[in-house]
Symmetry: C2
Subunit: 286 residues, 2 copies
């Protein structure tokens, strides 16, 4: 039976949307400005591929949706925090996000900055209050998430990205940039799904899930570079994969990574959705 | 025996400085920019009153320094994150902090923004890796810290503060502003000290520690307003306590709060340092 990956993502998104929707409401005056800015960003129609991975890996290894849900939400709110901060004038200075004014255009720079901060913090509140896992598991998830997002994770990757605006990066640094900026949070999404299912972080299952995450994360970025180049949206100052190889070589490289991702998980019953997802990331045209 | 509170704070600071100093070093190229910005801010000679409270409450209730240290560091790095973000041009636009160029002046706005983000995240890594407390205790500490700093804590207070730049606040909102913006993190510092000592969050000791924190937090702010007014540094658009009462009435109000703070903890053996600290906050002249 062939998998309709869009339908699978859409089912996961319906669960996440419902869970997130209620989280940014308050009767508290003034503070409601902050919650409105967070709601505006979190509920603005992102693809939610990270929490999809959290739920899928939890299901793959026999866990329950309730245990994965707070972890998936945590990953998603951190992702949205990074988008709000990335869009700020001192960073990428993007006025539009997902077809709407960016958070700082809609709510002002200071409120956007604070909304991003609050979302980072809220992620840990969500993880700490996950009552469907053991305390030691929630704690491990928090350590994984904090490391994946901090100095040697997402934020470290953002610093390399900024540096790349004014410096040419070598190939290894380009790989490091993407491994940290986007790869680390994708890795955390997958790891938190495994932890929610009770998979130990020193198990073979966990290691295979990490391999999958690492390879699809890089694939995602290579295909992004190819699509940007085709659309003529390649920022001239940015080092991309196409500075090091032709488009067809880049696609072959991504295909090889996708094969590795699939090989890491195909032996697990129920991995067909994750296989279809990896193929979708490789073959997408937008 | 009379307590030399400066000596007590200085002993605590020596412990914190030593523990924090090593945390912001890396051989990783480029990411070192981020760590340098964090080190610059965290090691720039803050008074570290929050981790002092964490260590003191841990000692008061019979806990060990090692158990309180990661929690105190976590509180301190979050405090420094908030200062970095508060100084940014879109917030208070302060070029100087502790007698030195602010983080964004020294490292650029984007790196300062990211350094603040990374410090928020690092706080949770520190808490999650506290091996000197039970996993359930570390988890409780994380929940306390995330709530105290997020939407209905520090960041919520920053939003009320911003709102107060262009709106007159009533007395209750002024109290809420300070309870959230500075009070919540002071409360978390005290609570994390209690948790590190194994004090249960539903105990009388914990409730009394919270009372102490609440009352010294507000005292701190009232005295700040008095000192700013005396120095002629009162921002004209800001609502302060002196909009609602005379200087002597404000001092009496703060003295009453300090009495309540002391009453909450004086029955505990070894509370003389915390009593001296509350009196110092009330009677300080800078």
């Amino acid at each position: 039976m062939s998998i309709d990956i869009f339908n699978e993502i859409s089912k996961s998104n319906a669960i996440m949307d419902k869970a997130l929707e209620e989280r940014f409401k308050t009767n508290e005056p003034i503070v409601s400005i902050l919650l409105d800015a967070e709601h505006y960003s979190v509920m603005s129609g992102g693809k939610r591929v990270r929490p999809f991975l959290t739920l899928e890996f939890c299901h793959l290894f026999g866990g329950k949706t309730e245990a994965a849900l707070p972890f998936g939400m945590a990953v998603e709110v951190i992702h949205n925090s990074s988008l709000i901060h990335d869009d700020l004038p001192c960073m990428d200075n993007d006025d539009m996000r997902r077809g709407k004014p960016s958070c700082h255009i809609a709510f002002g720079e200071a409120n956007a900055l604070l909304a991003g901060d609050a979302l980072l913090l809220y992620a840990f509140e969500l993880c700490a209050e996950n009552k469907d896992v053991e305390p030691s598991t929630a704690l491990e998830a928090i350590a994984v998430l904090a490391k994946a997002t901090g100095n040697f994770g997402m934020v470290g990757g953002q610093v390399i990205d900024l540096y790349g605006d004014t410096h040419t990066l070598d190939f290894d640094t380009l790989i490091k940039l993407h491994s940290l900026k986007t790869g680390a949070l994708i890795g955390a999404a997958v790891k938190l799904g495994c932890l929610a299912a009770g998979v130990a972080s020193d198990s073979e299952e966990y290691a295979n899930a990490c391999l999958y995450a690492k390879n699809i994360g890089l694939t995602f970025q290579i295909i992004d570079d190819i699509l940007d180049a085709r659309a003529g949206e390649e920022a001239p100052e940015k080092t991309t994969f196409l500075k090091f190889m032709s488009e067809s070589e880049a696609f072959e490289y991504a295909k090889d990574l996708t094969d590795k991702a699939i090989a890491a998980i195909k032996k697990y019953e129920g991995s067909d959705v994750l296989i279809a997802f990896a193929e979708y990331l490789l073959n997408r045209d937008k």
